[in-house]
């Protein structure tokens, strides 16, 4: 007996090393070529607070962290209580805890409770309690026949720098736990063995990392940003890696400065990006207008968290949609992309640079915490993806005097000179301007320039149609959603299809300008349209209504606040409701 899908979780508090044990399990899965998906949760403390992880492993690619756990390791019951809602063991799951730390009365997790000597073995093998987490991994590998070799390799890599004693102690702790697990495993625990044939190793990446890699691949050579959860990993990644590419990095004094620096670098001909979260994006909207007005390429990432204001900064929500699309003074066209999985974060970064360069406007990438901070394993990244750069003036463009904002092109794009080019000297301004860039108060020119700037959106809409579509070919029920919600929806749709239900999902990754015709074609044959979003105010639903006649009698709106991620079961019940 073996399983094809395994969800493992652990919870503890500072010093228990819970997060590290999750990372080691992911590394082990990646080295065996398994698909993995891990999310982590933290308490509000800066250091030493509660933390937990849940990691799901499968032979096939999985798109959600799984609703229920097969195995849960509890180091601390108070911490468990805090994460109870997101760490629910399934019926018959194994719940392990330290034998010295039994569950308090009434706080017992459901499932088969097993005590193991984490602390005792850590002490006997290393002399201290610090290696409890590694003992736990050993016990798991022994009990459930998980991949011990992969974990050993992970430990070696993780502690390679510290080397010597630290590495030896961790390996000893692992072996102590492993022997214990093997000696005490039963037919029941062995049923948890994940049935798979080892394959080529996979990458372990978070959405933030994939996005930053995509940006570097696209030629981003300037990054400025200000720390804000859950986008800070992009800042840290760029601060570490940008230099090797010959680029520049600045941690700015605030988000106003971040986007200012990005526009300055891009004005100078360098591809540039910044990343932030909702409140920081709000600060950037002033200069977003400037970028739109001056027609300067720029990529702005908003990794959404719950809001408004500080909200729950460590949890996902989909409530920055309106500010990304409509957050403007004046009419300020921009493009909004929304990746829906980790690999798409790479694509979105390259697409964002390509579109912003080609059409000389700001492009916003709406990511979210679940997408940005989860780690998954992937076979590879599409490093051959095409990269586009802006059009600079050709000889014909400077004859008789260069006009930076020349009117008349079909797509609204006019070649952009780079400082240093004596043929293309111009002065740009946030004031409305004529073709040369000189300030004007003329209504006619304002109208003509608005038309020029908006033509670019039309061109983008005609050219790009990023949509992910899943499920039955001739659906009766269709789900409309965006962003990280896709994961649970994709899985629920596959399960419903397997039951014979004709349901499909439409996940737009280009949110503005919206691929309207594709959506209309998708909606036409549907008996029921289910709209799912993590926005209490229903921002996505209301946004759709700005350009679409939604047949209200056929719409089932499933909206709620973020803060807890969308579950597969939640989507399944929405599908069932739609079929009633």
């Amino acid at each position: 007996m073996a399983v094809s899908d395994l969800v493992v979780g652990a919870v503890g508090r500072g010093g228990d090393g819970v997060i590290l044990s999750g990372e080691l399990l992911m590394a082990s899965a990646a080295s065996r070529g398994l698909y993995g998906y891990m999310v982590q949760s933290y308490g509000p403390q800066i250091r030493g607070g509660e933390s937990s992880f849940r990691a799901r492993f499968n032979v096939e690619q999985v798109s959600s962290p799984g609703d229920f756990l097969d195995i849960l390791a509890v180091f601390d019951w108070a911490a468990y209580k805090m994460f109870k809602q997101e760490l629910r063991p399934k019926e018959g799951a194994f719940v392990l805890h330290d034998e010295d730390n039994p569950a308090p009365e009434g706080e017992m997790a459901p499932g088969r409770i097993m005590a193991a000597p984490f602390a005792k073995l850590s002490k006997s093998s290393t002399g201290g309690l610090q290696a409890k987490n590694v003992v736990m991994l050993g016990v798991l590998c022994g009990f459930f026949e998980l991949d011990a070799e992969g974990v050993r390799a992970g430990i070696k890599k993780k502690f390679a720098k510290k080397g010597g004693e630290v590495l030896d102690k961790n390996l000893a702790a692992f072996e102590a736990g492993f022997s214990y697990g093997q000696a005490n495993s039963t037919g029941e625990t062995q049923k948890m063995r994940l049935d798979h044939v080892p394959g080529p190793p996979k990458l372990v990446l978070s959405g933030n990392e994939a996005l930053a890699l995509g940006a570097l691949h696209a030629g981003c050579r300037f990054y400025a940003g200000y720390p804000i959860t859950p986008s800070s990993e992009i800042l840290e990644f760029m601060g570490k890696n940008m230099w090797k590419f010959g680029g520049s990095f600045i941690q700015a004094e605030d988000e106003l400065a971040s986007i200012g620096m990005v526009l300055g670098a891009s004005f100078g001909g360098t591809k540039a990006m910044t990343a932030t979260s909702g409140p920081g994006f709000s600060l950037m909207t002033e200069m977003l207008g400037l970028g739109s007005m001056m027609e300067i390429p720029a990529v702005i990432v908003d990794v959404q968290r719950t809001g408004p204001s500080t909200g729950i900064p460590t949890k996902s929500e989909q409530s920055d949609l309106w500010q990304a699309i409509f957050g403007m003074h004046g009419d300020a066209p921009r493009v909004v992309l929304a990746p829906s999985d980790v690999e798409d974060c790479f694509h979105a970064a390259v697409d964002a640079f390509n579109i912003s360069e080609e059409y000389q406007l700001p492009v916003v990438i709406l990511s979210d915490q679940l997408l940005a901070q989860r780690k998954v394993t992937l076979p590879s990244l599409p490093l051959d993806k095409e990269v586009v750069s802006r059009r600079t003036p050709a000889e014909g463009d400077v004859e008789g005097g260069y006009k930076r904002y020349k009117l008349g092109s079909g797509d609204g794009v006019s070649p952009m000179a780079v400082p240093g080019d004596p043929r293309g000297i111009y002065q740009t301004t946030g004031l409305e301007h004529n073709e040369k860039g000189e300030p004007t108060s003329s209504f006619e020119l304002h109208e003509a320039m608005n038309e020029k700037r908006y033509k670019k959106l039309k061109a983008v809409a005609e050219r790009y149609r990023y949509v992910r579509r899943y499920g039955a070919g001739e659906p009766e029920v269709g789900i409309l959603a965006w962003g990280s919600s896709k994961g649970a929806i994709k899985e629920a749709v596959a399960k419903a299809n397997a039951k014979g239900l004709k349901v499909a999902a439409f996940i737009p990754e280009l949110l503005y300008p919206f691929p309207k015709h594709e959506l209309e074609a998708f909606l036409r044959p549907l008996k029921k349209i289910v709209i799912i979003e993590l926005s209490y105010g229903g921002q996505f639903y209301k946004y759709l209504k700005t350009f679409l006649e939604l047949p209200e009698e056929r719409v089932l709106l499933k909206k709620r606040s973020g803060g807890a991620f969308l579950g597969v079961a939640e989507v399944e019940s929405a599908i069932e409701e739609a079929f009633q």
Partner: protein
């Protein structure tokens, strides 16, 4: 300047006619800038002049160089991003006192501390002129303006004092009608390696009164003979003087700035200009 004809002051002038009022001090500033750039013979295409919002911030439009007239108070971040990514360019910011030490005060401090190799030409008129006469962060306490009808309750900010405290490596003050002094200081500021600020008292005859030149001229005083501009604390003594406006280079210092630091970090990170890193190499590190 070998075979190429020398660039004359007018070669830095665009064809646009300034929107400034007759008698505005900003005419003197832009004229001094044309002359300074001509003296330094910097090619027009290698210069970028950036600004925020305000009367003074119209200045980039009057230059025959690359120009960027952005949003209120935020020219310095734009200039910082440009200079960091294009160290080959001469980057000049032209902005007013409201722009620099009110709405953009946060950026002002950080540009100074980073020692970004940018020249900040502050056209200091002690009033909001473009919006027609409201109080500025530099307006003397007690002055009546359109928004302080009962007198300005707050003491002013001195841009030089602030720059000195924030770590600027070149701090100077001059007067817009003193063409010779202005051109000389601008030349030194532009060639200075690091963040330079030139606070130019640039009278607003429309909203501060048409006696502004008569008001300032008797107050002007050069730095004492033999003054060595190498001490921040000494320099501070010439800020906020009663009844006197001391002009000249108050402070200068050489220390590595934004551009040098970035080059150094690239070296430390192992950047090889002959073969820069590729995303492929970075991705390899994400396999177990």
């Amino acid at each position: 300047m070998s075979e190429q004809a020398a660039r004359k002051p007018n070669d830095y002038k665009s064809s646009l006619k300034p929107v400034w009022c007759p008698g505005c001090g900003d005419f003197g500033v832009v004229a001094a800038l044309y002359r300074a750039l001509s003296q330094l013979q910097i090619p027009q295409e290698k210069i970028a002049v950036l600004s925020g919002i305000g009367c003074s911030s119209r200045l980039p439009g009057y230059m025959a160089t690359y120009g960027f007239n952005g949003v209120h108070g935020r020219a310095l971040p734009v200039a910082t991003g440009l200079k960091a990514s294009r160290p080959d360019l001469t980057v000049i910011v032209a902005a007013g006192d409201g722009d620099g030490v009110s709405i953009g005060a946060g950026h002002f401090i950080h540009a100074a501390r980073r020692n970004a190799d940018v020249t900040y030409v502050m056209m200091d008129n002690q009033i909001y002129g473009l919006t027609k006469g409201q109080v500025a962060p530099t307006t003397p306490q007690g002055d009546k303006t359109k928004s302080t009808l009962y007198g300005n309750p707050d003491p002013p900010v001195d841009p030089c004092e602030l720059a000195l405290a924030a770590g600027a490596t070149f701090v100077a003050r001059t007067f817009s009608a003193d063409m010779k002094g202005e051109v000389d200081i601008l030349c030194q500021a532009i060639t200075h390696k690091g963040f330079s600020i030139v606070d130019i008292i640039s009278p607003c005859v429309t909203f501060r009164g048409d006696d502004q030149y008569d008001f300032w001229k008797p107050k002007l005083r050069a730095l004492p003979e033999g003054y060595a501009p190498n001490s921040r604390t000494e320099a501070l003594r010439f800020c906020r003087e009663e009844g006197v406006l001391t002009t000249g280079i108050l402070f200068r210092d050489e220390r590595p700035g934004l551009v040098e630091h970035q080059e150094q970090i690239r070296k430390s990170a192992g950047f090889n200009p002959a073969s820069p890193s590729k995303a492929e190499e970075l991705v390899r590190g994400f396999y177990p």
